[in-house]
Symmetry: C2
Subunit: 214 residues, 2 copies
């Protein structure tokens, strides 16, 4: 039985290398009820990037107008470019009972958690099993110099310091287990009484059915 | 990776016939982390009942002394006999990270939710898909007269009126699906940051590991 419900804003944060991207990709593939939040950015599209698929590409003026009018759920400036989450598509998605997954850092998470959609938020922090394992994963990517890996590790440590702001914490020592756990969190949150908007009507229906039986 | 955590008090309530007993039996069989709460009672043991297995059998004096000293998590009088949940075994179980399942009505649920173990409580209400289906299940048991079924239906309606006091609500139209959902709730609640007592130490370990790498 499918009762109407409000969708979730699933915030997934972790230090880089802890497996957050793999986890979100898997949940998006395996759970058709979850959609990915597409960010807006002022940086130029790279070859192959499509507006509305990788990003919504905006001019600085468009972007700042959205921020001013309260049309951005969260935003930040990174190396001179703006990145952010337009509010409207997220509101539409959750109104129709779809869940929106956000792959954001602690600052993005904090802004979403303090937005007007706060009640719909479920936040999950993914920890690595050890710093040695985190470093090994960063090195295995093989694209980055020792200096870049060192910087990422320092960033990772700073990101980890925000673990206690999240509702749920996963230690990702096995990505299969981590996915099962993340999906259990999503499924359980869908079953929270306060999120199932169709429950009032459903129980009223039971009462009317009972009366009619008398 | 297994971090230390505080166990849960899982309150499962539903009108009789909605499938609560089947559900709790299944979860107890399939999830070794969950144990059943054994009640105390002042009624006499029936043939085959063993003290400490079906019930803790107590005299009225013993029972009332426990209530007076705050040693009962919840209790009620039913047809002149007392029934209740001794606090000590529950506290021991959750301190060692086991989850305790309670098959109680809304009154028991309310007392446990307002007890000193409130923070460990997860409450789940199971609804029938329809009152016709509920009546059919009660009749299928075949043991009860039409009058008894009628009374049970009236009790069921009263029980259902308390659905909104619960954290989660399941509509049991398919017991396999309902079990999957109940187990997802239990698993997700285990992953709540605030319940994992080992997390502080674990993150401190990551920090120390990071420092040692510098």
């Amino acid at each position: 039985m499918k009762l109407a419900r409000r969708g979730l804003l699933i915030i997934l944060s972790s230090p880089s290398g802890a497996g957050k991207s793999t986890l979100s990709k898997r949940v998006l593939e395996d759970d058709p009820g979850v959609v990915f939040s597409i960010s807006a950015t002022t940086r130029s599209p790279r070859p192959g990037e499509v507006d509305g698929r990788e990003y919504f590409f905006k001019t600085r003026e468009e972007f700042q107008a959205l921020v001013k009018s309260g049309g951005m759920l969260e935003h930040a400036e990174v190396f001179g470019n703006f990145y952010g989450t337009p509010l409207a598509p997220v509101e539409q998605a959750i109104a129709s009972g779809r869940d929106v997954l956000f792959d954001v850092d602690w600052q993005g998470g904090q802004q979403i958690r303090n937005s007007k959609l706060a009640e719909a938020v479920v936040s999950v922090f993914v920890l690595p099993p050890s710093m040695a394992e985190l470093e090994a994963r960063l090195k295995r990517r093989g694209q980055d110099s020792a200096e870049v890996v060192k910087n990422r590790m320092a960033q990772s440590r700073a990101e980890i310091s925000h673990w206690a702001e999240y509702d749920y914490v996963l230690v990702n020592d096995d990505v299969d287990k981590a996915e099962v756990n993340l999906r259990a969190i999503v499924q359980a949150e869908r079953l929270k009484r306060a999120r199932i908007t169709g429950l009032n009507g459903f129980v009223q229906g039971l009462n009317e059915e009972y009366e009619a039986m008398q």
